[in-house]
């Protein structure tokens, strides 16, 4: 299988297929469908590499990212979303969400 991420981030490759997702609705669904163990594994692997990954993406024009850097940026978007489950709530959904649902229906790309 060919690598999805830039070679410098080969250590994150095991998470790429699951977490390189282009839109918030996809990332949100993945967060809700993942176990806290899986979220923790992704967070623990990705967070320490995040600063370097952001710097890698910023070697390119945001609107002309090579495919592998674009996927790395998607992975960072997933990290931002997963961080709430890990750092803030300790569970997949915010405390007191109850039956509420909020859909993101538009966002800039990338």
């Amino acid at each position: 299988m060919s690598a999805l991420l830039p070679p410098e981030f080969a250590d994150l490759e095991p998470f790429a297929e699951t977490w390189c997702l282009a839109t918030e609705p996809e990332r949100w669904a993945r967060r809700l469908d993942s176990s806290m163990e899986d979220l923790r594994a992704f967070y623990d692997a990705c967070f320490p590499r995040a600063e370097e990954a952001i710097a890698h993406c910023d070697r390119f024009d945001l609107h002309a990212l090579p495919d592998d850097a674009a996927r790395l940026l998607e992975l960072l978007h997933s990290l931002a979303l997963v961080s709430y489950a890990i750092e803030v709530w300790g569970e997949q959904l915010p405390v007191h969400t109850g039956a509420a649902v909020i859909d993101r229906i538009g966002e800039p790309r990338p």
Binding site: A80, A99, V101
Partner: protein, 421 residues
């Protein structure tokens, strides 16, 4: 203990003596009869914000807007002359809904030169004029002058598209917005174009959710997690720095909570990583343009302006040069559609994009707490366990809002009784 000066005679609420300090009834939020009155008294009378000019980026673009409360659908289009016009989204021939894509009950948007009715093929231009009648010679005495779409008053202010469903609005849009909101006209909204949009179908009266966003008294108890574990204190108090009322509109300014100045140990690791959070991206872009009307109370260490534009638009202007708009559209007396848009200066780098993303994530996380709580508030009110409820000085805007809604409904009833239009 007050941290901020309050106006004579000592509280914000008493300063507005017409509002009183007594308990407030929320019967207006659980009564189906009251909602029936709001349809005409408010949603067919007030100026309503239905979109932004960003929704019509070039000639020929259009969108539809379901206004359930006003019992109509609107078609808003930017003509070849760049004029923005609004019409009832209804075919002149047999009253069919003119434009829809997935379902007649869903909003749609697109671009084109004309609208074709699915039913009998009549066509209308972007200016609402009828351009084609199928088998025209089968009709009797068709008056071409009366074949166009039914126009709706439409004006654009600061890039916000407003409509008014009255045959003749009592006030122009600028008169309606008044000096407090009107002063924001030159705010650089047009430079904040990176947009994150959200939508929710909530199970509460529309006013009950607006209430959740027009007081900060609930923030320390409900949104305890906005501060990291070391800084967290559920018994913390919140005091807004400035309140202001202007006609049916109202605003509150907050001070402080500038997280970019917090020590890192009081923050979440990802706030530090992405340099962003509930006050927006920390590294605010320089945005030219005036700030007239912003921070009208000249609050020191100003953080947010929260403008509540009657009846159902909220604008939150942040110190970090971005803004949020919320709109609350009733769909019945116990349900509403919530629309939220976050607007930022265009991201130039991946780092800026991620700071926006983290702010947009943060808004949704905490709004889910507000939405989740809402369901229970509506149920509690509907139990009629209590007839009225105490509101404190930090809940002035809640008091003013329900007072204003009541007055608009009363005015409408009086004018109906007098036989006025």
């Amino acid at each position: 203990m007050s941290s901020f000066a309050r106006p004579a005679p000592g509280t914000w609420t008493e300063h507005h003596s017409e509002l009183g300090t007594g308990n407030v009834s929320f019967e207006d939020s659980i009564s189906p009869e009251f909602f029936e009155l709001e349809r005409d008294a408010i949603f067919r009378r007030a100026w309503l914000n239905v979109g932004r000019i960003d929704d019509l980026p070039r000639k020929g673009t259009w969108f539809t807007k379901e206004l359930v409360a006003a019992r109509t659908s609107l078609l808003v289009a930017r003509g070849m002359d760049d004029e923005v016009r609004a019409f009832h989204n209804v075919c002149r021939h047999r009253g069919n809904k003119l434009v829809w894509i997935r379902s007649p009950r869903e909003d749609a948007a697109g671009v084109g030169r004309q609208f074709v009715c699915k039913y009998h093929g009549w066509r209308f231009g972007l200016d609402g004029g009828c351009t084609y009648v199928h088998q025209q010679d089968e009709f009797f005495d068709l008056d071409e002058e009366t074949l166009g779409l039914a126009p709706v008053h439409c004006e654009v202010w600061a890039g916000f598209i407003f409509v008014n469903l009255q045959p003749e609005p009592e006030q122009t849009l600028r008169e309606f917005l008044g000096p407090m909101v009107g002063a924001l006209e030159d705010y650089p909204f047009d430079r904040l174009t990176d947009r994150y949009s959200f939508r929710a179908e909530n199970r509460s009266n529309w006013k009950i959710f607006i209430d959740a966003f027009q007081e900060y008294y609930h923030v320390p108890p409900l949104h305890t997690h906005q501060l990291g574990p070391t800084a967290r204190n559920p018994e913390a108090t919140f005091e807004a720095a400035h309140y202001q009322l202007d006609g049916p509109h109202r605003m509150v300014s907050t001070s402080g909570s500038h997280k970019h100045r917090f020590p890192a140990e009081h923050l979440y690791p990802s706030e530090v990583l992405f340099r962003s959070g509930n006050m927006g991206p920390w590294d605010a872009p320089e945005i030219e343009g005036t700030r007239n009307g912003v921070n009208p109370g000249e609050v020191r260490s100003w953080g947010i302006d929260n403008f509540q534009v009657f009846p159902n638009l909220e604008l939150l202007l942040y110190e970090r040069n971005w803004y949020l708009s919320y709109r609350f559209w009733p769909t019945s007396h116990t349900t509403h559609t919530f629309e939220a848009d976050l607007w930022f200066a265009p991201a130039r780098t991946a780092r800026e994009r991620l700071a926006q993303e983290y702010a947009a994530i943060t808004v949704k996380e905490y709004a889910l707490q507000d939405c989740g709580t809402l369901d229970g508030t509506q149920m509690g009110l509907e139990s009629r366990a209590f007839d009225d409820f105490p509101l404190n000085d930090q809940e002035l805007l809640v008091r003013h809002f329900h007072h204003t809604v009541g007055r608009w409904v009363q005015d409408h009833l009086s004018s109906t009784l007098r036989g006025a239009p």
